[in-house]
């Protein structure tokens, strides 16, 4: 014979799970994450290049003196250093981009997937050709 007060009450067991907070510096904790963030940061230097290109176009449109002044500014050691670093990052962008494209693009030939190295190799070849053509234009060909 059970009375109300003796009835068993079942409660769910809630074990206390532990969740670690992700540190703001998570990207410094592993080499792979740091490499990833550097790859993303290369986009800042791409934007910097665009700004310098716009500056050159603007100087061209304003005349010979403005253009010469800009060339002078480009010779400033601090600007040279910035451009050197930018160049390294911009090349890093290209190299990582060709690797990423090989993973993201699936080309099937004859029922089999084209190996990634051929996709990235094709990109590098294209890069060489395009760069050669541009250099020819700019060097006054």
């Amino acid at each position: 014979m059970k009375s109300e007060s003796l009835q068993a009450r079942y409660t769910l067991n809630h074990p206390r799970w532990y969740r670690k907070r992700v540190s703001t510096y998570w990207w410094l904790q592993r080499w792979e994450y740091l490499r990833f963030v550097l790859r993303e940061v290369s986009s800042v230097f791409i934007a910097f290049f665009v700004v310098t290109m716009l500056a050159q176009i603007y100087a061209l449109s304003r005349g010979l003196e403005a253009y010469a002044e800009l060339q002078n500014w480009l010779r400033n050691p601090f600007v040279v250093a910035l451009n050197l670093i930018s160049f390294l990052f911009v090349v890093f962008h290209s190299v990582t981009w060709f690797g990423l494209a090989a993973r993201a693009v699936v080309v099937r030939v004859g029922g089999k997937r084209v190996p990634e190295i051929l996709i990235s190799g094709g990109h590098y070849a294209g890069w060489l050709v395009v760069s050669a053509i541009l250099a020819w234009f700019l060097l006054g060909g």
């Binding site: 703001t24 934007a47 290049f49 665009v50 716009l54 160049f87 090349v91 962008h93 395009v130």
Partner: protein, 121 residues
């Protein structure tokens, strides 16, 4: 993670712009940066003179090329910078501000490029 109601999503467009910008940047920017920002000003290679550059830029196709070279990579950078700020610094509460700032910056840069290239005599 439930399926959101369908409306015009921006993410696919932003990703397309990001990818296009990445391709343009990867293929074209290294040689441009090397020549225009380093080799020519520092005299490593014979720089084209003002006359040659003016002649080049007068051509409408060259201007179109320069517009693409400047505008599209800006969207690539905007997208990457936005996500890096979002993930890297974990400032998610500023998500809208960052997005507007980044893509807005890219739009302003694009307009500036268009204006500059249109107004060359």
């Amino acid at each position: 993670m439930d399926a959101k109601p369908s409306h015009l999503r921006l993410e696919p467009l932003l990703w397309i712009l990001f990818s296009a910008g990445g391709v343009v940047a990867a293929f074209l920017i290294p040689v441009h940066l090397f020549l225009s920002n380093l080799a020519f000003p520092l005299g490593w290679l014979k720089a084209p003179d003002y006359a040659h550059m003016s002649a080049l830029i007068a051509h409408p196709l060259v201007r179109l090329y320069l517009f693409v070279l400047c505008a599209v990579p800006l969207f690539h950078s905007a997208h990457r910078i936005r996500y890096t700020l979002y993930d890297g610094l974990q400032i998610k509460h500023l998500n809208e501000v960052i997005a507007v700032g980044c893509y807005g910056g890219a739009i302003i840069g694009t307009l500036a490029a268009g204006y500059l290239l249109w107004n060359i005599h």
